[in-house]
Amino acid sequence: MSGGLHNMDRLREERRSWFYFAIGIAIYGWSIYGVGFDPIDLVRGLPAMGNLFARMWPPDLAYVPTILPAFLETIKIALLSTVVGGLLAIPIILLAARNINRTIWLVYTVKAFLNLVRTLPDMLLAAIFVAALGVGALPGVMALAIFSFGIIAKLTSESTEAIDPGPIEAMEAVGARKLQVIHFAVVPQILPQFVAYCLYVFEINIRVAAVLGLVGAGGIGRLLLRDMNLLRYPQALTIIIATFVLVAGLDFFSTKLRERLI
């Protein structure tokens, strides 16, 4: 009898999965239709792509000294915004961790705030700051600092909630004050993760900083946009290759550093 019931359940479950699968396909189809995706277009576009590449080749190496300052600006934007975001995150990490901040309503308020911060896309933030502060590197730094702050604070506070509670209990038992407990029992446990997350965010920031110029927020993206608009393709290719080298290089070092930390 009960076996029959089980079979009924399984049948119902199976029917339900098919239903969700069908809905998924429908949404997918709707999206393809919506953006006008057409594989034939893609194939038809291939010669144009080849043509573009042919006009880009070879890259203009004499252009490198000209773009160097903009590249440095990109690195500076990424570095500065990561540092500012990381520093701003420190108090919030502690406020958002349930095992450190025992005022539960405050923990949830801070967590909600962090979710809100992370819903704003970085490029949108950059565009808003450009509108408010004018064209330049500063709006880029502001936008990426907020973005970095959101990610670092969320990830590190979640790591903080997973630390070994034993040392905290021991420090409370010796009569340590809250800040002493944090400094001696919490910081040593989360510092490696915190630094690793900062490096990870730095890797993301370098990529974003490279295209921030598209909305006028400084860095190499501004030159790329200009050269593409002026059809200076060999120069654009130089920027693209240089960006690739920069991102890959910094990624490599950052990853090595993170591996050593954890």
Binding site: E169, A170, A176, Q180, P188
Partner: protein
């Protein structure tokens, strides 16, 4: 004649204020955890200065809760706990911190910061008597460092001072945590199942350290144990807990297997013995 002599001793002790003021007093202490679990059901007992007391009972009997009520890592639901004339249960935050600086605590899982050195772990025992600023800047005084090194020497691991805690064996880590408690220069040491994560020979080393410290420094020591052979070997006085109630309190010399069977409410099994004492 014996009685008279004893009275004389007691009288002089009374006049010097030693014996008749118990160091620790539990008055009808209860603890109910959220969800309705009654961990302690009205425990009353007194412990005198300098005693070495072992609390025995099965896991869940309330040993750990009893110990943690003393420094209020667990808040008692009702009742009073007096330590050295101070009502701990009524203490406000600042006063409670002061009480806690007087009580060293040793845990089953050591509770060391694994990435910090042994010395730094021991120095953290000084935090209660340091200003926040000094401790955040790492400004430990010469005396603090001397106290910490002496504490490590007392448990015979001063040569491990600069090792990271996670590089040490379990027994060594537990001795670092004893040294951390000693660095507080406490009146009382609480040890919650200090040997439960150690092997039998190491268990004897750690129990021996605790007993020796109790004798050499006169620090009142309360140890939670569920191994009856260790309790009999090291305790002066044994307190038995069962289901959150005190069911036995007497000198360790008077305790036999029957007593333990009464405390545990069942016959004694192999896992109730630690063994491993070859001497």
């Amino acid at each position: 004649m014996e009685a008279g002599e004893k009275d004389g001793v007691l009288l002089s002790a009374f006049l010097s204020g030693q014996v008749y003021s118990p160091l620790i007093e539990f008055k009808n202490v209860t603890k109910e955890f959220p969800g309705g679990v009654q961990a302690l059901k009205g425990v009353s007992l007194t412990i005198k200065d300098g005693e070495f007391v072992v609390i025995v009972g099965l896991s869940g009997a309330g040993k750990s809760t009893l110990l943690r009520c003393l420094n209020r890592l667990v808040e008692p639901t009702s009742g009073q706990i007096i330590i050295d004339g101070v009502d701990v249960t009524a203490a406000k935050a600042a006063e409670l911190r002061k009480v806690r600086t007087q009580i060293g605590m040793i845990f089953q899982s050591f509770n060391l910061v694994k990435r910090s050195s042994a010395l730094r772990n021991v120095l953290s025992g000084r935090l209660g008597s340091m200003s926040t600023l000094d401790s955040l800047l790492g400004n430990f005084s010469k005396e603090d460092i001397a106290v910490a090194l002496e504490a490590l020497a007392r448990v015979e691991i001063e040569d491990k001072a600069n090792f990271r805690a996670d590089q040490l064996s379990g027994g060594q880590q537990q001795r670092v945590s004893i040294a951390r408690a000693l660095a507080q220069q406490p009146k009382i040491i609480l040890a919650d199942e200090p040997v439960a994560s150690l092997d039998p020979p190491t268990s004897h080393v750690v129990m021996g350290d605790l007993k020796r410290i109790n004798r050499e420094l006169g620090i009142t020591t309360i140890v939670n144990l569920h191994f009856i052979d260790l309790a009999q070997q090291y305790a002066e006085r044994i307190i038995g807990l069962r289901g959150g109630q005190l069911v036995y309190d007497g000198p360790a010399a008077d305790v036999d297997e029957k007593t333990f069977e009464m405390i545990y409410g069942r016959s004694i099994r192999k896992e109730d013995l630690r063994g491993g004492d070859d001497e």
